[in-house]
């Protein structure tokens, strides 16, 4: 069943979530998107500090919130997101919960 959306767009899959994360993260960290892969560790590979991750979370909530009703990321879960893959899996899972 497709996600309930504000504007009736198609469901958001892992590839699109990855695209969003890479795009937003490259803006926040001022680095080339090519540096950001699924296996990138936020801290060890991308030098992302806690403030940068908060920026990322806010950006994702803003972008996904426009498309999926009630989408949010729990702050308690942030500590478990170490890599880009973790974040993609988490967001996709949360999007599923919102359906």
């Amino acid at each position: 069943m497709p996600a309930e959306t504000h504007v009736g767009r198609s469901p958001i899959g892992p590839d699109e979530v990855l695209r969003m994360i890479r795009e937003r993260l490259s803006e926040i960290l001022e680095i080339d998107e090519a540096r950001i892969t699924l296996d990138s560790d936020f801290t060890a590979d991308l030098d992302a500090d806690s403030l940068a991750l908060i920026e990322l979370v806010e950006a994702l909530e803003e972008e996904l919130g426009e498309r999926t009703v009630g989408f949010s990321i729990d702050d308690e879960d942030l500590a478990d997101l170490h890599t880009v893959r973790d974040a993609v899996d988490y967001v996709v899972h949360r999007l599923g919960d919102e359906h």
Binding site: E30, D47, D49, L51, I54, E55, D75, L78
Partner: protein, 328 residues
């Protein structure tokens, strides 16, 4: 039209009473309109009768000093977040907070946004230099773990800020290290030295003893060592002042002998008082955010508002943005 400054009424060890008093003092002594942000019942009760130039803006929540920076996400109606939103929405020209530094930074960063091209924000701290204008320490604690490129950007932002703040056309920049020689330092400093050597104004490494001394106008370092150095300087000032004044009052003879010099000594000590220096400026965000120290009382808060006004009047954000863009 006076400049409008949003003041986080609930931030600081002495909030809200001293912050509210400082806001009223600023409105009385400066050509400024103050928006006092906090729970309206609290701010209204703290505000003296008719504080002309002060308007109350309601915010229902408070971020405590011990809360993590991420509290700005869960407390979206907190005084510090609402203050940042007033700047974002053009209802205020600047914000001032004496509260949780991490939360003030996060609120400014998330609501005002970052200057394009800036990788990380940095806190510019004015450090008093006796008989001289202050020197600027960048970073005072915003970004703890730094890449070499970020320190170069701190130097660029700090240099432009020093031009505005100190009125020095070509500020001298030093890299804080454990020795003056170019090879001194940890991996970060060894990596950044040759990069900084390309920057106009860079004079090489400086040491801890160059604080409060007119060797350089800007001291660049990461937020971790910068914050430690800053607190060390503050502790040394306090300890020295206590030693001098306790010695001079230790016997009736010494007290009588120093009586004539005491007013001048107290005035000199005032030059080193953080309350008189004004707040620190958050560089790299797309708006003016002045962070006053946590123990700010009314006079310190008033001086931080004055600093915010100066930042707006001198277009410091636009100048830093241009400097970052020019540096590529």
């Amino acid at each position: 039209m006076p400049i409008t400054v949003a003041v986080d009424a609930m931030g600081g060890d002495h909030a809200p009473s001293e912050i509210v008093a400082g806001a009223a003092l600023a409105a009385a002594e400066l050509d400024v309109r103050v928006l006092l942000v906090g729970p309206e019942d609290v701010t209204a009760a703290s505000l003296p009768g008719s504080a002309e130039g002060v308007e109350l803006v309601h915010a229902s929540q408070v971020i405590a000093m011990h809360d993590p920076a991420a509290a700005v996400r869960t407390k979206k109606d907190s005084s510090v977040v609402v203050a940042a939103e007033l700047v974002r929405d053009g209802k205020a020209d600047a914000m001032v907070s004496a509260g949780n530094t991490g939360a003030a930074m996060a609120a400014a960063l998330l609501r005002m946004g970052r200057i394009r091209g800036v990788a990380r924000p940095a806190i510019a701290v004015p450090v008093p230099v006796p008989g001289h204008g202050p020197q600027i320490l960048v970073d005072g604690g915003a970004t703890v773990d730094c890449a070499p490129e970020w320190l170069v950007q701190f130097a660029v932002m700090g240099r432009e800020y020093a031009r505005v703040r100190l009125g020095v056309a070509q500020p001298r920049i030093g890299l804080l290290s454990n020795g003056e020689e170019s090879g001194k330092g940890d991996e970060l400093r060894k990596a950044v030295y040759p990069m900084l050597a390309e920057l106009d104004g860079f004079v090489g490494n400086v040491e801890g003893r160059d604080f409060m001394h007119p060797t350089v106008d800007v001291i660049v370092t990461d937020g971790f060592t910068g914050n430690i150095a800053l607190k060390t300087v503050e502790g040394a000032i306090r300890g020295t002042a206590e030693l001098v004044f306790s010695t001079l009052t230790s016997t009736p003879e010494l007290e009588a002998a120093s009586a004539a010099a005491m007013p001048a000594l107290l005035e000199a000590a005032g030059e080193l008082d953080p309350d008189n220096v004004g707040g620190c400026t958050l560089l790299g965000v797309d708006g003016v955010c002045v962070i006053s120290h946590g123990s700010s009382k009314a006079r310190a808060l008033r001086n931080s508002v004055a600093r915010a006004v100066e930042c707006v009047e001198s277009s410091v954000v636009a100048r830093v943005a241009q400097a970052v863009a020019d540096a590529g």
